[in-house]
């Protein structure tokens, strides 16, 4: 375990959380956070940066604390000296584990023999320790380490320790605010900070380098195989002709309806990251075999789409989720739902390539991949200019006919821009646009369906990452998926009043609709007519959900 000298108290961080909560204005939040980061000792700056986001590890890290709400409530009950039922009652009353812990800690019934004020380092070390405990009796051991923190906590400290443990800090700090605050605190350019964040996905590291080495240091940060990069994102094209016209020359590729992944290889260790930056390597053994066989034994990062097939034809996206989420019976499903990998970009090969134009990256990709038909392929592509735009249209038609989603239209001269949804990469789809929204609650059915959450309350995010409700949706799912969704939402439940429940925002659904309408009933000010669930988007995370801003612009268009 790393030794730290810092004696900075956890109370100071808690005071920061409280100050951040006291305002809803993003500029104020940024200023408060910037001031704090500026005054944080260099040694613990990475930790403090992550903790201010409510995280202990960077999102790509496979470490997790592994304490659910139940175990946390048990720990609180033991420290406070009340029954677990009482803790549950408080959580129901207050609607949040943090407020419940705070209230319970105001009146602790069990006294202690010693009090040791908590340092930030102590909190961080115990959280890390919980993540490291595994195997037999892991739960018992984890809870002890948690109790050690809680027993020395003040009511306000207990509130934020609890929220950090269940990964729901609720102080309204997202990656955007972190970017601005780091920029402000260490006087470095916002765009340089943003690029560094997109490349490393490590806010702690970015803050540390900003403080220590400034802009020059940040610019030297680059992608490293083994650590996922935010994928470059596509805007919607409103017509193939117009888009090609605007771009001049375009590389058009089939848009596969599957799972976008980044394949990393470092010292012969392979990792396959989803857009949520989870490593799914173990669920897709055949892809790993193909990678071994079809790609060179060098360090690299390539990007592509995995699709599920039946009798050689692409099948619904839901099937690939079955594969990717799988922990057991992987071998059986491997035969039932074979996967095909289509690669379309290379970000690193012996050295970072993201600053090369896409056209050149594609050439390198073609050189290093040994194609294995119907297993490990390169995306289907044509190069078009306004003169031969019909080639792009043909590609679109053949892609649709083959069961794919549409086409991508990419600028061959553009560098790879991690995390940016710009004009250098467009998508043109056959189906109407859908929205990715997060489930924040729901309503139990009646009668035969009284045990099932039948209707789901969906939310989009505003500029500051606050969730704003937009619609209830009740249709579009088959029984099995509905059952799964219902029990998932139950496991995330934070409040239950009558038939209505609130849930931690973790499940993303893709929603189709007929029309966006103004509505005072929902927090976003808009609602959807005829919302239908298209699918559960396990590949997306809360940061990926659509914004109120986008909904507004669709409404206005």
């Amino acid at each position: 375990m790393t030794e730290f000298k810092s004696k900075m108290m956890y109370k100071e961080l808690v005071d920061l959380y409280e100050a951040l909560t006291s305002t809803t204005k993003r500029l104020e939040k940024t200023a408060i956070l910037a001031e704090f980061l500026k005054n944080t000792e260099a040694e613990i700056l990475p930790i403090v940066t992550l903790l201010s986001l409510g995280k202990v590890f960077p999102i790509w890290s496979e470490k997790e604390i592994g304490i659910g709400l139940k175990l946390l409530m048990k720990a609180i009950s033991l420290v406070v000296g009340v029954s677990v039922d009482t803790v549950e009652e408080y959580v129901r009353d207050k609607g949040d584990i943090g407020f419940a812990a705070e209230a319970l800690f105001e009146n602790r019934l069990q006294s202690t023999l010693f009090k040791r004020p908590l340092t930030i380092v102590k909190v961080y070390q115990n959280m890390t320790r919980m993540a490291e405990i595994s195997g037999k009796n892991a739960q018992t051991k984890k809870i002890r380490v948690l109790i050690e923190l809680l027993t020395s906590a003040s009511p306000a400290e207990a509130k934020y320790i609890s929220r950090t443990v269940v990964e729901e800090l609720r102080v309204g700090i997202g990656e955007g605010t972190i970017k601005d605050a780091v920029s402000e605190a260490f006087n470095v350019d916002k765009e340089v900070v943003e690029r560094a964040l997109m490349l490393t996905n490590d806010p702690g590291l970015v803050a540390e380098v900003s403080k220590g080495e400034g802009e020059e240091g940040l610019k030297k940060l680059t992608l490293k195989p083994g650590k996922p990069v935010k994928p470059m994102l596509a805007q919607l094209s409103h017509g193939i002709g117009a888009s090609v016209e605007e771009m001049g020359t375009a590389i058009c590729e089939t848009k596969y309806d599957g799972f976008r992944v980044q394949i990393h290889k470092k010292n012969d260790e392979i990792k396959i990251f989803t857009r949520r930056l989870d490593n799914i390597k173990d669920a897709v053994p055949e892809i790993v075999e193909y990678i071994e066989k079809c790609l060179p034994h060098e360090d690299f990062i390539v990007e592509g789409e995995i699709i599920a097939t039946k009798d050689g034809n692409p099948i619904s996206f839901q099937y690939i989720l079955q594969r990717v989420r799988r922990k057991y019976e992987i071998e059986r499903l491997r035969n039932e739902v074979p996967l095909i990998m289509y690669l379309f970009d290379v970000l690193y090969y012996k050295e970072p390539l993201i600053d090369l134009p896409f056209g050149e990256r594609r050439v390198i990709l073609q050189k290093i991949v040994k194609v294995e038909p119907s297993k490990f392929e390169l995306s289907n592509q044509v190069i078009v200019t306004p003169e031969n735009v019909e080639d792009a249209e043909k590609l679109f038609e053949s892609s649709i006919k083959a069961g794919h989603e549409g086409i991508m239209i990419k600028d061959p001269f553009a560098p790879y821009m991690p995390g940016i949804r710009g004009k250098k990469m467009l998508k043109f789809k056959a189906e109407p646009e859908t929205l990715d929204l997060v489930v924040v609650g729901g309503t139990y059915g009646r009668g035969r369906r009284a045990n099932l959450i039948g209707s789901y309350l969906m939310a989009a995010q505003d500029e500051e990452g606050n969730l704003k409700t937009i619609a209830h949706t009740a249709t579009g799912l088959d029984d099995a998926t509905l059952l799964e969704l219902s029990s998932k939402v139950e496991s995330l439940m934070t409040e239950k009043k009558g038939r209505k429940v609130k849930a931690r925002p973790e499940i993303i659904l893709e929603i189709a609709y007929s029309e966006i309408v103004k509505s005072p009933e929902y927090e976003s000010g808009y609602s959807l007519r005829f919302p239908v669930v298209k699918r559960i988007r396990d590949d997306k995370s809360i940061e990926d959900i659509d914004t109120v801003h986008r909904i507004e612009s669709i409404f206005n268009a």
Partner: protein, 244 residues
């Protein structure tokens, strides 16, 4: 070089029965004064102190003071294997605590030593208004009686009696014991029953318990061997609540 031989294996077994249910990791200190440990549970509610003097051992040799850090659960697993007529021998090598049971056969176990960032806590120094003795079995039985009605226990003492009682949702229980000692003060505190049960797992250490009780003060519960060569004692933080 450290070697300690103990002909009564129950002493260690019964001590660690209690210790392992209170703390998960401990540091034992061995020196010319014997074997000793001070530990605080992670919730800072119970403090435990064990002291075994050299005279208690059949053989006790040590060159220089030694710190032995162990996972109590692992140690307990081994100690459970001791038969009551086994002779126990303790020693250490690089990174292990070695425990040998000498009986019908010679059985040797090694337990990995662990790293712990250890700040040996010193217990708060408290002045108690009362001190008295009760038979171990009496307290153990009282706990079992009280458990029927509640998970909390009120301990009281006055000039005549030691009283353990509890009020529960579905009934009450009260145990009175004439202690026959000279006590001038009254004292009363409330404790978690579960925590007292953990301490009383050490049921073969001593027949007599020395209790020190104050008003809303920690409970001092001490088990002393008649020979004065060994002591296992506990300090338990009270519950803070008005009587219901």
């Amino acid at each position: 070089m450290f070697k300690a031989v103990l002909s009564d294996s129950n002493i260690l077994k019964t001590s660690f029965d209690a210790i392992s249910s209170i703390v998960d990791e401990v540091q034992m200190q061995a020196d010319s004064e014997g074997l000793r440990l001070d530990a605080l549970d992670r919730s800072h509610i119970t403090f435990v102190h064990l002291e075994l003097k050299p005279g208690l051992f059949d053989e006790f040799t040590i060159d220089e003071p030694l710190k032995i850090n162990v996972d109590t659960e692992e140690l307990m697993k081994v100690l459970k294997r001791a038969k009551s007529d086994d002779i126990v021998e303790l020693s250490v090598d690089e990174g292990n605590l070695i425990i040998i049971f000498e009986g019908e056969a010679r059985r040797r176990f090694k337990i990995r030593l662990i790293d712990i960032e250890y700040e040996a806590p010193s217990p708060p120094d408290l002045e108690y208004p009362t001190q008295f003795e009760v038979p171990f079995v009496l307290l153990k039985n009282s706990i079992q009686d009280i458990e029927i009605v509640s998970d909390k226990i009120v301990l009281m003492v006055d000039s005549d009696k030691f009283i353990a009682e509890a009020e529960g949702e579905f009934g009450d229980a009260k145990i009175e014991y004439l202690h026959g000692e000279k006590i001038e003060n009254k004292a009363k505190s409330i404790f978690s029953l579960e925590k007292i049960k953990e301490m009383l797992k050490a049921d073969k250490f001593s027949d007599i318990i020395v209790l020190k009780l104050g008003n809303d003060m920690p409970l001092n519960l001490s088990l002393k061997m008649i020979s004065d060569e060994g002591e296992l004692s506990f300090l338990l933080a009270p519950r803070i609540e008005s009587e219901e």
